[in-house]
Amino acid sequence: MDLTFSPKEIAFRDELRGWLAENPPAPEPAEGGEDEGGEGAQFKWRRDWQRRLYDAGWAAPAWPTEYGGRGASLTESAIYFEEIGRARVPMAANVLGLLLGGPTLMVWGTDEQKERHLPPILSAEEIWCQGFSEPDAGSDLASLKTRAVKEGDEWVVSGQKVWTSGAQYSKWCMLVARSDNEAAKHKGLTYFLMDMEQDAVQVRPLRQITGEAEFNELFIEEARIPDANVVGGVGNGWKVALTTLMNERAGLGFALQIRLRQLLDDLIAKAAERGLLDDARIADALAELHVRCESIRLLAWKGLTDVERYGQPGPEGSLVKWLWSDTNQRLTQLAVDIVGPEALTAGESWSYELLRARGNTIEGGTTEVLKNIVAERVLGLPRLKVAA
């Protein structure tokens, strides 16, 4: 057991930290203000920021050097996200392309696909979005209904997707659709790259309880996808999608964990300012959040050790996501008690955090699904078979 960084890792961290200090992002623009191309000022800001990361070689350090990354180790990659979070810089515009699309192509893509797609992902020239969820499928990937029918060397795709973030800015969508109605439920799926720039694809923003629209619905009516844009082979979509999902939590976890730490530090400072650290009830609740925050950090790093020692990330990662989301909800709720009713003023950052946190236990795997995963895959408990 050694909970220190190696000299190489420290050098990596210091280089990044130095670069971030010398290259602060532009000030965050106000919400709204769509420009001519329909790109919001906020998104443009994030795209500009990714370009600067790209120019400096910091857009995707975990990618192999041959694809423009730095071949960073898992630990270095975690350090990268910790530092990105710590510096409070914006999220790279093409985060889904960098974290999910790119890595999925590296595993399953053809040489042509890699050559064609990886460079514009990295440079934020082409934004990617993810079309997995459907309104009627929820946590149940195997019951997807979007249908793909082969016509010559094209696929004709119709259906509806939901929870696609960044769809309005995206050139490509990682789409999972049913290409074979006869095959067993998850065997008939195929993974496509769908060009978003066609009339057959309509994007409708999905407003959430915070009032903003981070996500979208996609309405797809006879969209055309060339056969060359199948990833990983026809009928293999389930497996390819799992690769994407596996990558989903790994890196972001470290950024989220740091964000939680920052919120907690802000809250402790606020409590101190109001003299509430002398209230044993508040002090107890804050200390409990501190313990949880540290547990999340430790469990995240421990998960990394397991990957480095035994290969693939284990389902234990579900514990981190579960604990993080629950803790963020408790933290933002406690903030209302510490800050006072003013925290419930719209536009106040605490009120935003409170509302946004409600999504944490739903997005990226509901807590209920995570508990199922833990029970079945970590503890080996029998799977519940239900009869209709």
């Binding site: 006072g340 009713p341 419930l344 536009g347 509302l355 239900v386 009869a387």
Partner: protein, 340 residues
């Protein structure tokens, strides 16, 4: 010993529910919430029906009914989230009626009873209340200071700055008045009643959140069966019911003490507010979770309940503050029995 409503009370409940079911449909509530306006048409209608004055004495133009009846209306209004300033106005009236002099009651209550004036009640520190529900619409504002003293002010005697609350079905404002207004003889005498009113509203919010959730999870299917069949969901719903019933029973008890055993009101009101504040937060959060992704969307409407619950939960002090108050009462009892 009878926990049931009287026939009259059941009539009030049924009438209110029917009326609001008709006049405060979700689309209408959303429309007003999105534009941040109160529903003046509905408010006028409620005023004509005498709702604002239901618990104000007949002497001052009210209906002269008790806190149980007031609680019934609060619960129904909470259930519908109707965008009207009923609760703040009723709370202000309760504090004036039970803590004011005969002159003060005569001066302020009739217009609150008729709905001609809208009231609001806020807790202040050195003359400033940071967050007064209904404050932006009110003509009559009562500020209770930390030391228990209370003043009634006409709105133009105070500096009223509207705030955008996360719950736009009701206005909010920062209210500041270093001096001016009339000091009430007993600032705290009506506070217990105000606490019961907001607790009752929270019961209505919880009840609606549970009903929406039950309806949703019976329909929504996952892996081929309604999600409500899964224990992760069904046990969550059972927990929501338990929290709601805890809040409901303590709020009912507190309402009863107000009219029939006022010496126990302080304790009963603290219990009710503690139970209702916790229930409001937990039940509405659970409602969002049980709705899954849909619950996080603006369109699903369940978030309005969550937002109302969040605001009500801290109104006149959160669960923690009322449990602290209860602990003081319990400590007093221990001292008293030790002295006996």
């Amino acid at each position: 010993m009878d926990f049931g409503f009287t026939d009259d009370q059941r009539d009030i409940q049924r009438t209110a529910r029917d009326l609001l079911g008709e006049r405060a449909r979700p689309e209408r509530v959303r429309e007003h919430a999105e534009s941040g306006r109160m529903d003046t048409e509905l408010w006028r209608e409620l005023c004509e029906l005498g709702w604002p004055g239901i618990a104000i004495s007949e002497e001052h133009g009210g209906g002269g009914l008790g806190l149980i009846e007031l609680g019934i209306l609060c619960e129904e209004l909470g259930r519908s989230l109707a965008p009207v300033p009923f609760l703040p106005s009723a709370m202000a009236a309760a504090v004036i009626e039970h803590g004011g002099s005969p002159e003060q009651r005569g001066r302020w209550l009739p217009s609150l009873a008729s709905g001609e004036s809208i009231g609001a009640l806020g807790t202040a520190l050195d003359g400033t209340a940071e967050f007064v529900i209904g404050g932006a619409d009110a003509q009559v504002i009562v500020l209770i200071e930390d030391d228990g003293s209370a003043r009634v002010l006409a709105a133009d005697e105070a500096e009223v700055s509207p705030l955008a609350s996360i719950d736009p079905t009701r206005s909010a404002a920062r209210v500041s008045a270093e001096d001016g207004g009339e000091l009430l003889a007993d600032g705290c005498a009506g506070l217990g009643r105000a606490l019961v009113a907001v607790s009752s509203e929270l019961v209505g919010v919880c009840d609606r959140a549970l009903a929406m959730t039950v309806e949703y999870v019976k329909e929504r299917k996952q892996f081929g069966v309604p999600v409500g069949a899964y224990q992760a969901v069904s046990h969550r719903c059972a927990q929501m019911l338990l929290e709601t019933e805890k809040a409901r029973s303590t709020a009912a008890f507190a309402a009863w003490t107000a009219d029939s055993d006022p010496e126990r009101l302080a304790e009963a009101a603290a219990m009710a507010k503690a139970a209702a504040s916790d229930a409001g937060r937990e039940v509405t959060a659970s409602a969002i979770q049980a709705h899954g992704g849909i619950g996080f969307t603006w369109e699903a409407d369940v978030h309005w309940l969550y937002k109302r619950a969040q605001v009500d939960a801290v109104l006149l002090g959160g669960a923690g503050r009322h449990r602290a108050r209860l602990a003081e009462i319990l400590a007093d009892k221990v001292r008293a029995s030790a002295a006996a």
